[in-house]
C-alpha cells in the first residue's frame, strides 16, 4: 500500500505532508516525558517487529496479495499516539533506506497507514473489546487496513495519474484489502497474543497509551 512518488496530485502531496507532520508532531509533543523504560522497550520491539513483519510478502494464490501493515497492532499494544509514531518511523525508514514508498509521498503513506489505520484500528478495538477481545482484535486488524486502503484509493482516484478513476481505485484498493485484510486481522491477533504470552505489558501499555 506504499504509494510511490509521481502517483498523487502535487497539492495532495503537500497537504498530506502538512497534515501528517502536524499529527505526528502533536503525538510526539503529547508523549514527551511520559515513557517508562518498559514502555520504551516495548515501543522499540513493536516498531522493529512491524518493520520485520512487513518484509514478508505473502505469496497467496490470488490475483493480488499483500503484506502485514501493523497499524492496529501498534495501536492496541502501544496506544494510539505511540502507535502512530511507531508506524511512522517504519514508513520513514522504508522510504529513505529501501525506496519503498516515495519520499514526497511519505505524508500520504503516513496519513494512510500510520494515522488512519492506527486510529481506525484503535476505535474498532475499543468499540468491540468489551464484548469479545479476540474478535475485537481481528476486527481491528481487518477494519484498519480496509480503512487505510480506502483512504489511499480516494487519494489515487482524485489524482490525474490515475485518470481521476475514483470508482476503480476505491473498489480495487478497498475491495482488495477488505478480502486480504482477514490476514491482517489474524496476524494482529497473533502479534498481541505473542506479546502478552511472552510477558510484555501489552495490556498495561494499552491503558497508559490511551491516557497519554
Amino acid at each position: 500500500m506504499h504509494t510511490p512518488d509521481g502517483f498523487l496530485h502535487p497539492w495532495m502531496v503537500g497537504a498530506l505532508l502538512v497534515v501528517s507532520s502536524l499529527v505526528v508532531g502533536t503525538c510526539l509533543h503529547r508523549l514527551r516525558g511520559t515513557l517508562s523504560t518498559a514502555r520504551i522497550q516495548l515501543f522499540a520491539i513493536v516498531t522493529a517487529g512491524i518493520f520485520a513483519a512487513q518484509l514478508l510478502n505473502w505469496p497467496l494464490p490470488t490475483p493480488v496479495s499483500a503484506h502485514f501493515v501493523g497499524g492496529a497492532l501498534a495501536a492496541i499494544v502501544l496506544g494510539p499516539r505511540l502507535g502512530i509514531v511507531s508506524v511512522s518511523i517504519v514508513l520513514a525508514i522504508q522510504a529513505f533506506v529501501f525506496g519503498d514508498g516515495g519520499v514526497l509521498a511519505l505524508g500520504a503513506n503516513v496519513f494512510n497507514m500510520a494515522i488512519v489505520e492506527t486510529l481506525g484500528g484503535y476505535a474498532i478495538y475499543q468499540l468491540l473489546a468489551g464484548y469479545h477481545r479476540p474478535t475485537a482484535i481481528v476486527a481491528a486488524g481487518w477494519g484498519s487496513i480496509t480503512l487505510a486502503a480506502l483512504a489511499a484509493g480516494i487519494e489515487l482516484g482524485l489524482s490525474p495519474a490515475f485518470g481521476y478513476e475514483l470508482v476503480t481505485t476505491v473498489v480495487v484498493m478497498g475491495g482488495g484489502h477488505a478480502l486480504l485484510g482477514v490476514g491482517e486481522g489474524l496476524l494482529t491477533l497473533l502479534g498481541v497474543w505473542l506479546l502478552e504470552t511472552t510477558g510484555s505489558p501489552a495490556s498495561d501499555a494499552n491503558r497508559q497509551g490511551a491516557q497519554a
Binding site: M1, P4, D5, G6, F7, L28, L31, R32, G33, T34, L35, S36, T37, A38, R39, I40, Q41, L42, F43, A44, I45, T47, A48, G49, F51, A52, A53, L55, L56, N57, P59, L60, V64, S65, A66, I89, V90, I93, Q94, A95, V97, F98, G99, V103, L104, A149, L156, S159, A161, G163, T168, T169, V172, M173, G176, T198, G199, S200, P201, D204
Partner: protein, 102 residues
C-alpha cells in the same frame, strides 16, 4: 515476567529480539515465494488498470532498493537488507523512545 517500571527486562528483550531474528530469517522464503507467484498488491493493480504505472518516479532509491543488495541474489539480499533494516528500526525507535522518556 512483565517489563514494567524503570528496569530493563533482559529476559524479555532476548526473547523479543529472537522473535525479530526469526522474522528476518524467514523473509527470504517469502521473497522467493512472492517472485514465484508474481506478487502484486492492489495499489499496483489499480495503477495497471488506470494506466498510472508509468507515472511512478523515484526521487530517493535508498541504500537497499526494493529490499535487495546489488550483487547478491534475492534470498541473501533480502536477508541482509532485512537484518539491516530491522536493526536500524530498533535503534531509531530506542532513540525516539529515549527522547520521550519520563
Amino acid at each position: 515476567m512483565n517489563v514494567q517500571g524503570s528496569q530493563i527486562d533482559r529476559d524479555w528483550m532476548i526473547k523479543a529480539i529472537g522473535g525479530l531474528a526469526l522474522l528476518v530469517a524467514v523473509s527470504p522464503l517469502f521473497a522467493i515465494g512472492a517472485g514465484a507467484v508474481g506478487y502484486i498488491e492492489p495499489l499496483e493493480h489499480a495503477a495497471e488498470l488506470t494506466g498510472a504505472s508509468d507515472h511512478a518516479t523515484v526521487i530517493v532509491a535508498g541504500l537497499f532498493t526494493d529490499y535487495g543488495v546489488p550483487g547478491l541474489g534475492t534470498a541473501t539480499g533480502t536477508l541482509v537488507a532485512g537484518a539491516f533494516g530491522t536493526v536500524l528500526t530498533l535503534g531509531v525507535a530506542l532513540g525516539v523512545g529515549q527522547g520521550l522518556a519520563e
